[in-house]
Symmetry: C2
Subunit: 399 residues, 2 copies
């Protein structure tokens, strides 16, 4: 296991990292606030830094009682490298991966801020989510049969099975929040919201339909955990230093592409619900509008790559339209699941958890009600329609 | 490569086959009429037999120009062994698999007849297809997360990727018939049927939607080639010797379960269209009625296994209903694709090909028209409705 004391020795031992950093006077800091990894920022006296990330053999939130394959570092390395080829400016760069020790050396993004933190402190969201729409489109185009042909697609899908990490998603997103479990919790003030959900079989069956899609659909090498805590941002949209990058892709596997979009939307809703609960109505509406913007960016990027697909004579423009409709449907479905589980389940979000009591109740009501609606009433609705429903619920629960 | 001269030596070298057959005076006959394999019937003087099947390194129909992994024998061995555990009386038994030489030793089913041949000669179809519905249900239940849990399901799906054989299906079922290819052919009398299909973008886009499902949905270790030429039958329903068994499962992979059902239905349609073209109206209708019977047998078996699923608290009865609806939808979609490709594509069926000119035109028209309809108009229709459409088309094209 890496420690602050051994990182210099480690870097010295890696030829691929020579020149990335000056070891003389280098400092190291452990900053892993995640659940599964050690993360060290190693910085030299000139300010250059290398990030080292080593996977732990268990889930830190739970401890050694939940063992977890260290191979997931390899999943992250592989997906970062694939994404880097497809959308180099939209993901954290991979300097090298040491398979023997499960250590990734990563691009220094310490001048970026985690998007969830940025939004929680009221930072700007303008232009933050379109890049993720672009990334999702590039991943769909680049890792599906559209680029790899059918044979390459099947081989890649088979080679990137990520059973243990998928199991975490299956349990924490689809199962525990809805069927109970000791790791769920909410404040007593919203107990009734949760208990009425648990007895709502229409809701829970719809969640399990989405779980079935998560289990049985493989469309692309999806990120698998693309929430606002897996995104870095720097600067303001329109300025030269503006940058948005996804990271933490160890959940990557061949799954339904709408899952990435849906997780993003569920977390945009968390930010918007927080803003609404804090009385920042205009900001809340502007945040919700990011959902449509991210979709349009996805759609635009995919349409722009479309002429370069393999076998264009087979995959017609009409084929694309019907696929887009299915992806949109999936996205709302997964977004609905994500919204509810971020309130109830083990992996809660600070957007909601840091709110005062009145604001918390308001935000939870908005997220749970919309989560159900997104999941259950997603046929043929427009983005405008979804947006109006958000505004109405914000008013309703303020009354 | 096995030859008639070397099979005795081979059997002698395999301890697992000792006692299955008496080598003294044993005869060997090569009977492979398939496309990809050598098949030897080795029979001793007392009448006992062992079947040896060795995969060729190329597609026999095309020759060495289409190389084909011999590993597919391993796919067949694995799937036969899995199916044998789930539905021992409904699949050909596997005596042993020799991985080094790609040779399967199989149960002697020489007292059975290939179902396509049986139907072509006017043999009875009563009770023939329900067992396949049962088999499909057992496979869905036994190889999905319903039995294996989510983790086991993902591991199995990843371990049984069958890229090269899937590619054959992708090309021969979904692509070539609709987008042209030198391996297609029909008699000149139906050229117009084919050319109007090729310019029918609604049709071809719907086919590609099914191809997308074939590529992207993994639900169970499906047979992958479950037509009437992959089924053996012996005796008459209701009699003790009655037996129906699937074989030739080298296309097995984790795919959409409706694909197996759909291929079966497309081939039932071929048999029914043949009967109708020959003026055997009652028999034709009775054959088409087998479609519903096979589905009901599937549904009944799945419902009967359902209480034994893993995690019953998560997978509710409503969940089953919605899954069944999706499988039924898939089944009609794949059946529609199968119907058309069995008329046009490389792998034609003797049901249609052996007909005289007038009968051929009639059968092709029925199959192509129904194939399109099954694929495009499958929302909310009853089996009765599909059956009536068949009868109407039989009349229409006879007029």
């Amino acid at each position: 296991m890496l420690t602050r004391e051994t990182v210099a020795q480690y870097i010295l031992s890696r030829p691929a990292l020579a020149g990335s950093i000056d070891l003389e006077g280098m400092t190291a800091e452990e900053v892993g606030d995640g659940n599964l990894n050690l993360v060290f920022i190693c910085r030299d006296t000139s300010g250059r830094a290398v990030i080292l990330k080593q996977s732990l053999p268990y889930v830190r939130l739970v401890g050694p009682a939940w063992p977890m394959t260290e191979d997931r570092a390899g999943r992250e390395a592989h997906s970062l490298s694939v994404y880097g080829g497809l959308a180099p400016n939209l993901v954290c760069g991979l300097l090298e991966y040491n398979e023997d020790c499960h250590i990734l050396a990563l691009e220094d993004l310490t001048d970026h801020e985690v998007v969830r933190s940025r939004l929680n402190r009221g930072g700007s969201h303008a232009g933050i989510f379109q890049p993720m729409g672009v990334l999702i489109a590039r991943v769909l185009f680049g890792t599906s049969w559209l680029s790899l042909k059918e044979e390459g697609f099947r081989l890649q899908a088979g080679a990137t099975v990520n059973t243990e990490l998928c199991l975490i998603s299956e349990e924490l997103i689809f199962t525990e929040p809805y069927f109970g479990g000791p790791r769920n919790s909410v404040r007593p003030s919203v107990d009734s919201v949760i208990s009425s959900m648990r007895t709502d079989e229409t809701w829970t069956t719809a969640v399990m339909r989405m779980k079935r899609r998560f289990l049985s659909v493989q469309e692309a090498l999806i990120h698998g955990d693309l929430h606002t805590g897996s995104m870095f941002a720097r600067g303001e949209s329109g300025h030269e230093e503006f940058s948005v990058k996804a990271f933490d892709s160890e959940f990557a596997f061949y799954g339904p592409i709408g899952f990435d979009m849906g997780l993003l939307w569920g977390n945009i809703l968390a930010a918007a619900s927080r803003a609404a609960a804090l009385g920042e109505t205009e900001r809340a509406n502007s945040l919700v509008a990011e959902i449509e913007k991210s979709w349009l960016a996805f759609e635009q990027q995919l349409r722009s790559d479309w002429p370069n697909r393999q076998k264009p004579e087979e995959y017609s423009d009409d084929f694309l339209e019907s696929w887009l409709a299915d992806i949109l449907d999936d996205s709302w479905g997964f977004a609905g699941c994500e919204a509810a589980r971020r309130v109830i389940g083990l992996a809660k979000v600070s957007d909601i958890e840091t709110l005062g009591e009145t604001e918390y109740v308001h935000a939870v009501n908005v997220m749970m009600t919309l989560g159900r609606s997104w999941l259950l009433s997603r046929s043929g609705r427009s983005f405008e329609d979804y947006h109006q429903e958000f505004s109405q619920l914000v008013d309703k629960f303020s009354a």
